[in-house]
C-alpha cells in the first residue's frame, strides 16, 4: 500500500525527522489560509500516488497567499498520469542548497533491508542507478540488529557530506530506520533530503510503501489507504479476499492459485486472445466467493467470455461448480462461459455444471482456444 507524500512525511516527523511546516488542503480556500499562516512563500504540491508530479505541473511555487489560492485551483483541476488531484500539500518553501537521496528498501536477493544514499538527490534513484551508479552508497542492515550508528556515519562519509552534518544525518538515518521498521514498510525514502541556505537538513519530499500483509498490526496506517486510485473492482475484490487485477483485454479469467492464474492469462495471449483480468479465488473457494468473483469479472463491459480454470487440490471441484451455478442464478448474463475442472472432485463438478449452459474443456490449451472463439461469437455450447 502506497502512502501519499503528506502521510509519509507525517510518519517521518513522528520519528524525529525534520520536515517543512505545512498542511494538506482539499480546496483552494484552505490552501490560501495555510499559505497565510506560513507567511505566504509556499510550495503547492499535488498529492497523487505517481511519480513525475513536477513535470506534469503538479508542484508549483507561490509567493503570496493569493497566488497559492490560484495555483491550488489549477492543480486541483488537473489529472496526473490519469489520476485526478484531490488534495494538495501546502509547505513552507525552503531555500535549497544541496539535494541528497536517502532511502531504505528490502533487498530480496540479500534478504536484508538496504539503506541507500546518493549525493544526486531530487531525481529518481532508479535513474541515478542507471546513469551514475557510483554515486549511490549502499549499506545492508542486519534485520536482527537494526541500523548501527557506524553504518549511518559510513553513509554520510560515502556521499561526501560535510562533517558538520554527520550527527544530524545519523539521527535522520536512525529515524528513517525506525519509521521503516515500526510501520512495516517495504520502502521509506526521503528524496530530496536538502541542506537549506540556513545550513539545516530538511526532508522536503517523502514516500512510503507499506507491506499489505502487516497491516493487521497497524490499524492506524491501514486507514490511510487511498481507494480513489485503484479500479473499483479491485477495492470490491479485496472485501472478499480475492486477488484481482484489472487488465485491458476481453476474456475474464477465474482461476485458483496465483501461478496458474498467470499461466492462464499467458496461454490466452499465446493463442491470440487478451485476458481481461488476473483473478485468484484462492484455496477452498466457497460458493459466495465464486459468486462475488463472477460479479466483479462481469462488471467489466469489455468482457466477452469468461474462462474458469480450476485445478482441484484444497479447492474441491464440486464446491466450485455449485458456486458457479449459484452465481449464475444471481448474475444474469449472456456472456459465454468456458469451464475446465481438473483434480479433486472434478467429475462431480462437471456433472453439476452439465445442467448449466457452459462450454467445457479438458486441457488448458483447449480451454483457452474455446474461450477465444466464444468471445468472437464462434464457440457454441
Amino acid at each position: 500500500m502506497k502512502l501519499h507524500e503528506y502521510q509519509s512525511k507525517q510518519i517521518f516527523s513522528h520519528y524525529g525527522i525534520p520536515i517543512p511546516s505545512g498542511r494538506v488542503a482539499a480546496n483552494a480556500a484552505d490552501a490560501k489560509q495555510i499559505a497565510e499562516e506560513l507567511g505566504g512563500h509556499v510550495v503547492i504540491k499535488s498529492q497523487v500516488l505517481v511519480g513525475g508530479r513536477g513535470k506534469a505541473g503538479g508542484i508549483r511555487l507561490a509567493k503570496s497567499p493569493q497566488e497559492a489560492e490560484d495555483l491550488a485551483t489549477q492543480i486541483l483541476g488537473i489529472k496526473i498520469k490519469g489520476l485526478p488531484v484531490r488534495k494538495v500539500l501546502v509547505d513552507e518553501a525552503a531555500s535549497i542548497e544541496t539535494e541528497i537521496y536517502l532511502g531504505i528498501t528490502n533487498d530480496r536477493a540479500e534478504r536484508k533491508p538496504v539503506m541507500m544514499a546518493s549525493s544526486a538527490g531530487g531525481v529518481e534513484i532508479e535513474q541515478v542507478a542507471k546513469e551514475t551508479p557510483d554515486k549511490i552508497v549502499k549499506v545492508h542492515i542486519d534485520p536482527l540488529l537494526g541500523l548501527r550508528d557506524y553504518q549511518a556515519r559510513d553513509i554520510a562519509a560515502g556521499i561526501d557530506l560535510p562533517r558538520e552534518h554527520w550527527q544530524t544525518f545519523s539521527q535522520i538515518g536512525r529515524g528513517l530506520w525506525r519509521a521503516y521498521l515500526r510501520s512495516d514498510a517495504t520502502l521509506a525514502e526521503i528524496n530530496p533530503l536538502v541542506i537549506t541556505s540556513q545550513n539545516r537538513l530538511l526532508a522536503v519530499d517523502g514516500k512510503m510503501v507499506l507491506d499489505d500483509n502487516a497491516l493487521f498490526r497497524h490499524p492506524d496506517l491501514a486507514e490511510m489507504r487511498d481507494v480513489d486510485v485503484e479500479p473499483k473492482a479491485e477495492t470490491e475484490a479485496r472485501k472478499y479476499n480475492l486477488s484481482f487485477i484489472k487488465l485491458d483485454g476481453y476474456i475474464g479469467c477465474m482461476v485458483n492459485g496465483a501461478g496458474l492464474a498467470m499461466a492462464t492469462m499467458d496461454i490466452i495471449k499465446l493463442h491470440g486472445g487478451k485476458p481481461a483480468n488476473f483473478l485468484d479465488i484462492g484455496g477452498g473457494a466457497s460458493s459466495e466467493k465464486v459468486a462475488a468473483a463472477l460479479r466483479i469479472i462481469l462488471s467489466d463491459s469489455n468482457v466477452k467470455a469468461v474462462l474458469f480454470n480450476i485445478f482441484g487440490g484444497i479447492t474441491r471441484g464440486d464446491e466450485v461448480a455449485r458456486g458457479i451455478l449459484a452465481a449464475l442464478q444471481e448474475v444474469k448474463t449472456d456472456v459465454p462461459m468456458v469451464t475446465r475442472l481438473v483434480g479433486t472432485n472434478a467429475e462431480e463438478g462437471r456433472q453439476i455444471l452439465s445442467e448449466a449452459n457452459m462450454i467445457t474443456a479438458e486441457t488448458l490449451v483447449d480451454a483457452a482456444k474455446k474461450a477465444i472463439r466464444a468471445a468472437q461469437g464462434g464457440e457454441q455450447v
Binding site: 536477493a109 482461476v255 496465483a258 501461478g259 498467470m262 499467458d266 481438473v342
Partner: protein, 287 residues
C-alpha cells in the same frame, strides 16, 4: 527415492487443530506420511483424528515425547514467524511453512536467524514437499503424481499440480516435488533445490517452474550453467502481467523493469534450458 522428505520423516504438524491443519493432516496420514505429533498451544494432552495423532502444547514437549525430525506449519500468518522460531529453537532441522501472508520484515528476521543456526526452511506461502509413494508434507494432492525420476521445483502451487498431472498423464513420475513458495523472502531458493537434485541419485531430470518478480530464476540459470549435469526444463508464469502490480503472490511483481518473464526465459534459454510455452508442454519436453 528423494530429497528432503521420505519414509524416515517423522512429522510434526504445528497448528494441527485448526481447520486447515486438521484437514491436511488427514490427507497426509491417508497418503502414508508418518505424522507422529501435533502442536496447538493450550490443547496439549488431547488427540485428533480418532486417536491417530497426539497433540502437545509446545514443540519442545512434542519433540521430547515423539522424536519428530520435520515440522509442517499451518498456523495463521500473524503467529507463523513465532511458530518457525519455536521449531528452530527446538532443533528441528527441516521446517515446511505452508502459511501465506507472513509480513516480509518477519521473514527477513526469520531467514537471517535460521541461516545462523543452519536450519532449512521450505516456504512460506508454499504447497510443501511431496515424495510420491513415500511422504507428503503439505497440501500437494497425492493422487496427481506417481513415483519417478523427475525432480520438480516451483514457486507456485496449483500451477505445479498442472505440471505433475500432465507428467502423470504421459506416464512420467516424480522423485520429489518441492514448492519453495511465492513470497519475496523465503527459506529455500531454486539453487538450493537444484543442488540437492543434482546430488540425488534417483533424480535424472529436473523441472523448474518460476514466475515474475525477483532474480531467483536468473541466479538459477547461472547455477545450472556452472553446476548441473542433469537436463532441466522450465516454465515461467506471468508473461502478460502488467508492471508494478502484485500478481497474487507477494513476490510476483515486476519492479522498476526488473523481474520480467522475458528476462527469466532468456536467462534460462541462454544456458540451454528448454522453456515450455505453456505448462502442459513441459511433459512433452521431457518425454
Amino acid at each position: 527415492m528423494s530429497i528432503l522428505v521420505d519414509k524416515n520423516t517423522r512429522l510434526l504438524v504445528q497448528g494441527i487443530t485448526g481447520n486447515e491443519g486438521l484437514f491436511h493432516t488427514q490427507h497426509m496420514l491417508a497418503y502414508g506420511t508418518n505424522v507422529v505429533a501435533g502442536v496447538t498451544p493450550g490443547k496439549g494432552g488431547g488427540w485428533v483424528l480418532e486417536g491417530k495423532v497426539p497433540v502437545f502444547d509446545s514443540v519442545r514437549i512434542a519433540h521430547e515425547a515423539t522424536g519428530v525430525n520435520t515440522s509442517v506449519i499451518f498456523v495463521p500468518s500473524r503467529f507463523a514467524a513465532d511458530a518457525i522460531y519455536e521449531a528452530a529453537d527446538t532443533g528441528i532441522q527441516l521446517i515446511v511453512c505452508i502459511t501465506e501472508g507472513i509480513p516480509v520484515q518477519d521473514m527477513m528476521r526469520v531467514r537471517n536467524y535460521l541461516d545462523q543456526k543452519g536450519i532449512r526452511l521450505v516456504g512460506p506461502n508454499c504447497p510443501g514437499v511431496l515424495t510420491p509413494g513415500e511422504a507428503k508434507v503439505g497440501i500437494i494432492p497425492g493422487d496427481i503424481s506417481i513415483p519417478g525420476n523427475i525432480g520438480v521445483v516451483s514457486r507456485s502451487g496449483t500451477l505445479t499440480y498442472e505440471v505433475l498431472y500432465a507428467l502423470k498423464l504421459v506416464g512420467l513420475g516424480t522423485s520429489t516435488c518441492v514448492g519453495i513458495g511465492g513470497d519475496p523472502i523465503n527459506g529455500t531458493s531454486f539453487i538450493d533445490v537444484l543442488g540437492m537434485f543434482e546430488a540425488d541419485p534417483y533424480t535424472d531430470k529436473i523441472i523448474l517452474i518460476g514466475e515474475i518478480g525477483g532474480t531467483d530464476e536468473e541466479k538459477a540459470a547461472e547455477y545450472i550453467a556452472d553446476h548441473l549435469t542433469k537436463p532441466v526444463a522450465a516454465f515461467i508464469a506471468g508473461q502478460t502481467a502488467p508492471p508494478g502490480k502484485r500478481m497474487g503472490h507477494a513476490g510476483a511483481i515486476v519492479e522498476s523493469g526488473s523481474g520480467t518473464a522475458a528476462d527469466k526465459i532468456k536467462a534460462l534459454q541462454d544456458v540451454g534450458v528448454q522453456v515450455a510455452s505453456h505448462p502442459e508442454e513441459i511433459a512433452e519436453l521431457l518425454a
